[in-house]
């Protein structure tokens, strides 16, 4: 396994490492990794650092090819990668910089329940969610959409779900992009994506996707938590999923098209999965239009899962979801490309910011942040593994200056899935979790071991780095009580 790039890493300060531009001929900028010495050891085991260097080949890239502390080996860009290209200077867009699960993301709901109120009921509640929420390989949603319906859904995103009775306007207010990316183009989506998406809306999926009942176990910023309607001991719900087969197919179709673009536009990248085209090209615009459809599909998906969750709670507690206080705190994407304005070297520039396993973290006062939260900075939701914690952070001004308004997205994997399956025993993992007071239901064989806490880095370490490095700040921490996995 190549460790070339790892060997040339230069430490800049306590939380920043550099892959020099001279490491590979063809790198247009240096690589930059936000991490600490302990996490760095973990990432030297695979090819993630090499991928940071590879991303630096992308035409139009500005400042550096960046990676967050949850970086791990992906394809094309590493997971945890952030790349910004200058749209007006021939900057490219690459589907490999977004990933197959377009707008994989996380939604956090608050409730009016205290953890003591659900003590002894979590297992039953998790089972009720397991029955109501389609999850796992081959699962299908309850919606039966015509192609016309699907086209509307792709343009309207979460608004489509709200108009269909699966949520409220307030849900949209507290969703990134209000759950609807503008300029989505259903004509840029190919037939197979429509086919794959039709039956999967309102499904959780599998792998690392989950629906969790949690409790807040630590508050770091009382005032911010109060503004967000959160307090210690409160029950929250976290939904982690994306655009399902629809997004996977959009990416598959466009990587193929972008491979042709490498030849057409004479672009040289060291990995085919970094196939790309200028943002302003016909192909670049078509991908953006299709990717926005997939992003909207994902926001609609998380809205429908919110609806299903509220239904389960309503039935379980014999009370309305409004009375149970099940409102959206926020909803973020962590696999996406966006056209954003950023200041680079003192100049305002229009950038195509790719976040692949990275979360937007706009600072206080940014117009994209809901008015209620604007003074705090954008809420950032960081899901952890099923045995440790998840976090709510806020974006910072430093993130705007340093990381194109971005931060980490999760814990990051440590063990491969096959290694986890080989070395862990399902019953032992379940028993360990049960001893910690965590109840787990999984739809697919193997998921428990593949997704065991031991397979992940410790999210607490990752979040400590982004907090100490200043690219986001801690507001509160949650711990899982009941976990539904795909």
């Amino acid at each position: 396994m190549s460790k070339g790039a790892s060997c040339v890493l230069e430490q800049i300060d306590e939380f920043h490492w550099r892959v020099p531009q001279t490491y590979k001929p063809g790198m247009r900028v240096e690589g930059r990794i936000v991490t600490d010495a302990r996490q760095l050891e973990l990432l030297l085991k695979d090819q993630a650092v090499e991928q940071v260097a590879n991303a630096a080949f992308l035409p139009g890239i500005v400042k550096y090819s960046l990676a967050m502390p949850d970086i791990h080996w992906g394809y094309g860009l590493p997971i945890g990668g952030v790349v910004a290209t200058d749209v007006d200077a021939g900057g490219v867009i690459t589907p490999g910089g977004v990933g197959f699960d377009i707008n994989c993301g996380v939604r956090l709901l608050r409730t009016a329940l205290e953890s003591e109120e659900i003590q002894g009921k979590v297992e039953e509640l998790t089972c009720a969610l397991y029955k109501a929420v389609p999850a796992g390989v081959g699962s299908k949603g309850f919606l039966r959409l015509t192609e016309q319906d699907e086209r509307k859904l792709l343009v309207k995103g979460a608004l489509w779900a709200v108009e269909a009775g699966f949520g409220t306007r307030e849900d949209l207010e507290f969703t990134e992009e209000q759950g609807q990316m503008q300029s989505a183009d259903p004509d840029a989506v190919f037939k197979h994506a429509y086919e794959r998406g039709r039956l999967q809306s309102g499904t959780l999926g599998s792998g690392n996707h989950f629906l969790e009942i949690q409790k807040i176990d630590n508050i770091f910023d009382e005032k911010a938590a109060q503004t967000l309607g959160l307090h210690k001991g409160q029950v929250t719900i976290m939904i982690h999923t994306g655009s399902r087969g629809f997004g996977h197919q959009v990416c598959t179709d466009y990587v193929k098209i972008m491979l042709e673009c490498l030849r057409k536009y004479d672009i040289h990248v060291p990995d085919r999965q970094l196939a790309c085209a200028p943002v302003t090209s016909v192909e670049g615009q078509a991908y953006l239009g299709a990717m926005r459809c997939a992003a909207n599909y994902a926001w609609c998906n998380r809205q429908i899962l919110t609806y299903l969750t509220r239904q389960v709670f309503e039935k379980f507690f014999a009370s309305s979801w409004e009375h149970l206080g099940m409102q959206v705190v926020y909803d973020v994407a962590h696999n996406i490309a966006k056209i954003e304005q950023h200041t680079v070297e003192g100049k305002q520039r229009t950038l195509c910011v790719h976040r692949k396993g990275a979360t937007r973290a706009f600072g206080p006062g940014h117009i994209a942040v809901p008015l209620l939260y604007r003074e705090l900075g954008q809420p950032v939701i960081i899901p952890g593994d099923m045995g440790r914690n998840s976090y709510l952070l806020a974006g910072t001004e430093q993130a705007m200056e340093e990381s194109f308004g971005s931060t980490c997205h999760g814990a990051g994997r440590l063990k491969s899935r096959s290694q986890a399956l080989r070395t862990l025993n399902q019953q032992t993992v379940l028993n360990d979790l049960r001893q910690k007071g965590i109840c787990v239901r999984a739809a697919t064989k193997g998921t428990i071991c593949e997704e065991a806490p031991e397979a992940y880095k410790n999210v607490n370490d990752v979040v400590d780095i982004v907090h100490s490095a200043g690219i986001s700040r801690k507001i509160c921490r949650m711990r899982p009580l009941g976990v539904l996995k795909g």
Binding site: F100, G136, G205, G207, V255
Partner: protein, 148 residues
């Protein structure tokens, strides 16, 4: 008795999963890659209902690509789309024509149900990451990674 040569092996990847495929020729390589991917998704149950051909369907596939690596990814991607949209599992593959730029094949499939199969891994997509085909002695091998 001589052991049957292995058709594929699992490749470690931190977040995803890959396979290294072996065959005596390129037609076999494309078939074994398809079998490998299908095995990752679901395993036939020992007591699963035997499909005696009555419930099986055949799907004709024709694809074009710039080179054999891209053709391999296109082939597996096409099969994956059928698995995902039609909830079926492939049981047999027949390569009818395979050149550097073109593939014609016929695949046989049956319903993918929890009665017949243990569902294992949801493969989101086939990636081009480090995809390569090469001869090693008299064996042809390929490596391909899947996003899961």
């Amino acid at each position: 008795m001589k052991n049957k040569p292995k058709a594929y092996e699992i490749l470690e990847h931190t977040a995803d999963i890959g396979i290294r495929v072996f065959a005596k020729d390129i037609n076999g390589l494309f078939c074994n890659a398809a079998y490998g991917m299908c095995d990752l998704i679901a395993g036939k149950k020992k007591d699963g209902r035997v499909q005696s051909g009555a419930g099986s369907i055949t799907i004709d596939i024709e694809l074009r690509a710039s080179d054999r690596e891209e053709l391999l990814v296109a082939w597996l991607s096409e099969l994956l789309t059928h698995i995902d949209t039609r909830t079926l599992m492939f049981t047999e593959f027949k390569i009818l024509e395979l050149t550097a730029h073109k593939l014609r094949a016929r695949a046989t499939a049956e319903a993918l149900t929890p009665d017949n199969y243990d569902l294992k891994t949801e493969i989101k997509a086939v990636t081009y990451h480090q995809v390569q085909l090469q001869w090693q002695g008299d064996t042809m091998r390929a490596e391909v990674f899947f996003d899961v």
